[in-house]
């Protein structure tokens, strides 16, 4: 409609609104500690830290994509395929390779490549992100199945496995790596031009373009970054499981998007930051952990999270931004 009045929107809930996700996380933790004393044990807490990666990294990637106003459904395929690349390159039962830690670079490149493919499809053919990434996801899954004949590739490189399984004192190595990635991502988001442009594009692409921002370049960059992160996550996953398995990342897409939503990243784009993704991934992990401790079947967990996802989006979505609902 041509007649619109820009309405003044004072921040709705003030401090509470901005930090709702953090408050929810704290409340959740308190609740779980009361309900189940096993939750607050050191053992369990470090268990949680272990569970945070590699999912945290994919959630981080998804966070960037969401902030730019798109979505990425290719997570599972790219993570899986990258993990398989890793498993082929480190010492394993299937071939003579022994690249050790160098394999990580190949994982990164694999992920980056497919991420850039996503961005390219978006930019050159204008395929909506959900469709392009869905297709790429299936393609990468297909390639993964093809290459492994559906069977996991078991690795035997013990030092490589330390990435996923090792501990520094009591803290899992994977967690430290994940935190490192988060820190870099935080810096990228807050302190670089690229990071600021991601939010600008998510906010209002037309205005951003008008003011001279190269929207296409930023978008391709975002998907490329996400892809590289998926690659890294794939390496960690393989190290953890001890094998490259195309089925290992099943559920990652759902959980990554769920983490972002729980942390307060807007589905419509333009709002959010790296700390929010961190809060979200912890919330999700603690939620799952709590449900396990309470004896809730893993099958139910998915449904619960699905409903929480829908509810959170319904409550927080910026309806003014969506003129026509697709």
């Amino acid at each position: 409609m041509s007649v619109t009045r820009v309405e003044v929107r004072k921040r709705k809930f003030g401090f509470l609104g901005e930090n709702a996700s953090l408050i929810a996380l704290v409340l959740l933790s308190v609740f779980l500690s009361i309900v189940n004393p096993r939750f607050f044990t050191l053992d369990n807490l470090f268990n949680i830290l272990d569970l945070v990666s590699p999912l945290g990294i994919t959630a981080l990637a998804m966070g960037f994509v969401l902030m730019a106003g798109s979505i990425d459904l290719s997570v599972e395929g790219v993570v899986g395929l990258s993990g398989i690349v890793a498993s082929f390159l480190v010492k394993n039962f299937s071939n003579q390779n022994d690249f050790g830690f160098f394999s990580i670079f190949f994982c990164l490149f694999t992920g980056l490549g497919f991420g850039l493919l996503n961005g390219f499809l978006l930019y050159r053919f204008k395929i909506p992100s959900f469709m392009a990434t869905l297709g790429v996801g299936f393609i990468t899954t297909g390639v993964g199945i093809l290459v492994t004949r559906g069977n996991p590739i078991v690795i035997t490189d013990w030092s490589f496995r330390q990435i996923g399984m090792g501990k520094v004192g009591v803290v899992p190595v994977a967690f430290i790596l994940t935190m490192g990635v988060f820190f870099l991502a935080w810096f990228l988001s807050e302190r670089t031009v690229f990071g600021r442009y991601v939010l600008a594009i998510g906010g209002d692409e037309a205005i951003a373009r008008d003011l001279g921002i190269n929207v296409n370049r930023v978008k391709i960059g975002v998907f490329g970054l996400a892809g590289a992160l998926y690659g890294f996550a794939g390496a960690i996953l393989t190290a953890k499981l001890g094998s490259g398995d195309i089925n290992a990342p099943i559920g990652f897409t759902f959980d990554s998007i769920g983490s972002c939503v729980l942390g307060g990243i807007a589905i419509t784009g333009g709002m959010g930051n790296v700390p929010k993704v961190l809060i979200g991934i912890f919330t999700l992990t603690i939620l799952r952990n709590g449900m396990i401790l309470m004896g809730i079947s893993p099958y139910v967990q998915q449904g619960v999270i699905g409903m929480i996802l829908i509810a959170t989006v319904a409550l927080t979505i910026d309806r003014k931004k969506i003129k026509i609902m697709k």
Binding site: G69, I127, G142, V143, Q302, A314
Partner: protein
């Protein structure tokens, strides 16, 4: 016949001819024809609802998990209630479709995320109800699947059911007010809304049909597998989207239809079947389907409707 259908039809005929000429023995055998129709009918029936949803410009990402859920429920009901399994599952199909529709129109959650979240819930339900394992149809209940499985040459009862559904929904598309409104909404939701049409109702009904299609498709699946499996549906998600889009139903909405989807399903089914016949790894199917889907999307996208590519 529109340009879009002619292209799809040509592709179907082309692939069919190539396969017939190069592998007459294996491709044209009764056994293979039946297998081909099996896949085609499953994709098609599941795709009926998705066709309507895509025509109004939305997407339904919960088809795969609904399929899983319904195969499980259908088998359970067959074993427990016999014939009543059919109406029960159909009813549930309508209800869950309605749920998707309400999430979309009332809660105003964009369809790609709303159906995505719902898919998680449905998948979860499938796993809970089946305790994670496939459930077999008890021999006493076999009889209820007979009408779907009875053979006339290589044609099965389920194939004829699909054909009936094809005719039914073709009529709905062209000869009912609802069918015309779906086109109107897909082409210009604004103008349709401003003409006093209850757009929300039309959209919700499309999702209800999508739920019903998944239910119907689960019948066909169970009739073939004699079991319900909570993981069976996942690969169908992409195949069904592919079937719709490759047939010419553009993601931007307002074009295409049931006949397009029929043609698209044959393309997808022929590719899968053809790869089998030729002896190519079935693993390639996923890749090839992914590629042709995106090619089809790129070709059919109405660029004037897409200002911002999200």
């Amino acid at each position: 016949m529109g340009k879009d259908k002619i292209l799809a039809l040509s592709v179907v005929i082309f692939i069919f001819l190539v396969l017939s000429i190069t592998n007459p023995g294996s491709f044209l055998s009764a056994y293979n024809m039946e297998a081909l129709l099996e896949y085609a009918t499953t994709y098609f029936v599941a795709g009926i609802g998705l066709t309507f949803v895509i025509m109004i410009g939305s997407i339904d990402l919960s088809i795969g998990s609904l399929l899983s859920l319904f195969t499980v429920l259908f088998v359970l009901f067959l074993n427990a209630f016999g014939f009543w399994a059919y109406p029960l599952v159909l009813f549930l199909g309508a209800v869950l479709g309605l749920a998707n529709g309400i999430i979309f129109t009332r809660l105003k959650i964009p369809s790609f995320i709303g159906t995505f979240g719902a898919a998680g819930v449905y998948q979860s339900l499938a796993l809970i109800v089946s305790r994670g394992k496939p459930i077999g149809v008890k021999p006493v209940a076999f009889a209820y699947l007979d009408f779907l499985n009875f053979h006339l040459g290589f044609l099965k009862g389920s194939h004829m059911l699909s054909f009936l559904l094809f005719v039914l929904f073709l009529i709905v598309q062209y000869y009912t007010p609802f069918g015309r409104y779906v086109y109107a909404v897909g082409n210009s939701e604004q103008a349709t809304n401003l003409s006093g049409v209850r757009v929300a109702r039309i959209k919700t009904l499309c999702f209800v049909i999508s739920g019903l299609s998944s239910a119907l498709a689960s019948f066909i699946l169970v009739a073939r597998m004699f079991s319900g499996d909570p993981t069976v549906g996942a690969p169908y998600q992409l195949q069904v989207i592919a079937a719709c889009v490759v047939g010419g139903t553009a993601l931007t909405g307002g074009v295409g239809g049931i006949f397009n989807t029929l043609l698209g399903t044959f393309v997808v089914a022929l590719i899968g079947n053809g790869l089998n016949v030729v002896g190519v790894d079935v693993y390639y199917q996923l890749i090839i389907t992914g590629v042709i889907t995106m090619v089809a999307v790129a070709l059919t996208l109405d660029r004037s409707k897409v200002f911002v590519v999200k």
